[in-house]
Amino acid sequence: MSDTQNEKREWPLYEVFVRGKRGLNHVHVGSLHAADDQMALTHARDLYTRRNEGVSIWVVRSEHIAASTRDEKDPFFAPSADKVYRHPTFYDIPDDVPHI
């Protein structure tokens, strides 16, 4: 995707890793959308540490994460092995939604 196309699209997805306290690893806590790295850090601070949960935050664009598949023979992910979280989908959701 080129940068100019990007302007009209959604902000990209970032994965957020928080170090809960000194001596612990950074742990994946979730994701968020941001236009750039700085915004991702700001949003991560606001969203994932608003109850004082962290001393350090890492953010990384989801599409930059390389991951192993659980099963190398897994045919489902073969076409998109380099994309972690963003599989294009075209399926429809029925309208008769039950209450949660």
Binding site: T69, V84, H87, I93, P98, I100
Partner: protein
């Protein structure tokens, strides 16, 4: 799910093998993770369920959000502000969980705005008094906890993890609501009347948050088998009633149901039947505030478009400048 998947067209033996692996994972009560193979129905049902939950958090900010500027003490203002902010946070956790199933938040928002996906109909009722803030915390968040605590054991990992975080925060929400009502009940006669009035208006709608009765809930059986729903609607409703009755007594309010009484034999409270035809009417868009809620969400989304575009444009320019600098 995707055309890419169809193009791969694995032979039926391979699919059967994957399906039995999936079933075995569920049977062992282990979690399904984003990169695992999963049946298409499982994925679709989860997307629908998580998206509806996320939309509910976001639309659910509105009925209480209206009271932040009018909260009658600075302490209540802070609590309510933080609570409504939490709901935005919960919406974000849930949209994130949905995105691991391969769908963009933008697409989900679009589906909400086009009315193709729903949100909890409880948020289509108005909040005419400040006591409503307390009753929403007590009933609506209480019902949400009954619904959501079992989902912390949902078979889908990202959803289960989001629910753990959300449930921890929701338990404070319920407590702040109940504490507000306790304080109001110790206040003036007028305040006590406000509380009873709000209880009368929200009770039946809250019972309907658990959905239609079990014999009229078409998707439940499959969801239970997949462990993305862990208890039936009526089980959860019963749990909510049993939990709430003693709390109401302690508070000194009357729940507006003449049939409500303890059933020694069952070990549960009997209660009257909610008007499910009203539930259907509100879900289908005919509730008191449906149009208003959707309009607010649409307006925020549309009026924010230029801001989101500006941020994307700036990020693109920055990236281009960095590339030019690197090339020079």
């Amino acid at each position: 799910m995707s055309t890419a998947h169809a193009a791969a067209s694995p032979d039926s033996d391979a699919v059967q093998e994957l399906e039995s692996q999936f079933d075995a994972t569920i049977a062992r009560d282990q979690r399904i993770e984003p990169r695992d193979w999963m049946p298409e129905g499982y994925r679709k049902t989860l997307v629908r369920q998580i998206a509806q939950h996320a939309h509910s958090e976001i639309i659910g900010m509105q009925p209480e959000g209206e009271w932040i500027t009018r909260a009658p003490s600075l302490r209540r203002k802070s609590i309510l502000f933080a609570k409504v902010q939490d709901e935005a946070g919960h919406g974000l956790y849930l949209y994130s969980a949905a995105e691991t199933l391969g769908i963009d938040r933008a697409e989900l928002t679009q589906r909400l705005l086009e009315g193709r996906q729903k949100y909890s109909s409880i948020f289509n009722y108005p909040t005419p008094s400040f006591a409503d803030v307390g009753v929403i915390g007590w009933f609506v968040d209480g019902a949400a906890i009954c619904n959501q605590v079992p989902l912390c054991r949902s078979s889908y990992g990202p959803y289960a993890r989001a629910m753990v975080r959300i449930c921890k925060e929701e338990s404070f929400h319920q407590r702040q609501g109940y504490e507000l009502l306790l304080t109001m009940m110790r206040g003036t006669r007028e305040q006590r009347e406000m509380v009873q009035d709000a209880v009368d208006r929200w009770w039946w709608a809250s019972l309907m948050m658990f959905g239609p009765p079990d014999d009229d809930s078409p998707n439940s059986a499959q969801s239970m088998a997949w462990k993305i729903k862990r208890h039936s609607n009526d089980e959860l409703r019963q749990r909510f009633v049993d939990m709430t009755v003693p709390q109401a007594a302690k508070l000194g309010v009357t729940l507006p149901d003449p049939e409500l009484r303890w059933n020694e034999e069952r070990g549960h409270h009997d209660y009257g039947t909610p008007d499910y035809s009203e539930l259907k009417r509100v879900i289908s868009g005919d509730g008191p505030c449906n149009a208003e809620r959707m309009e607010r969400r649409r307006a925020a989304h549309e009026e924010g478009a230029w801001v989101r575009e500006a941020a994307s444009a700036h990020a693109a320019k920055q990236a281009a400048r960095a590339r030019a600098e690197a090339a020079a």
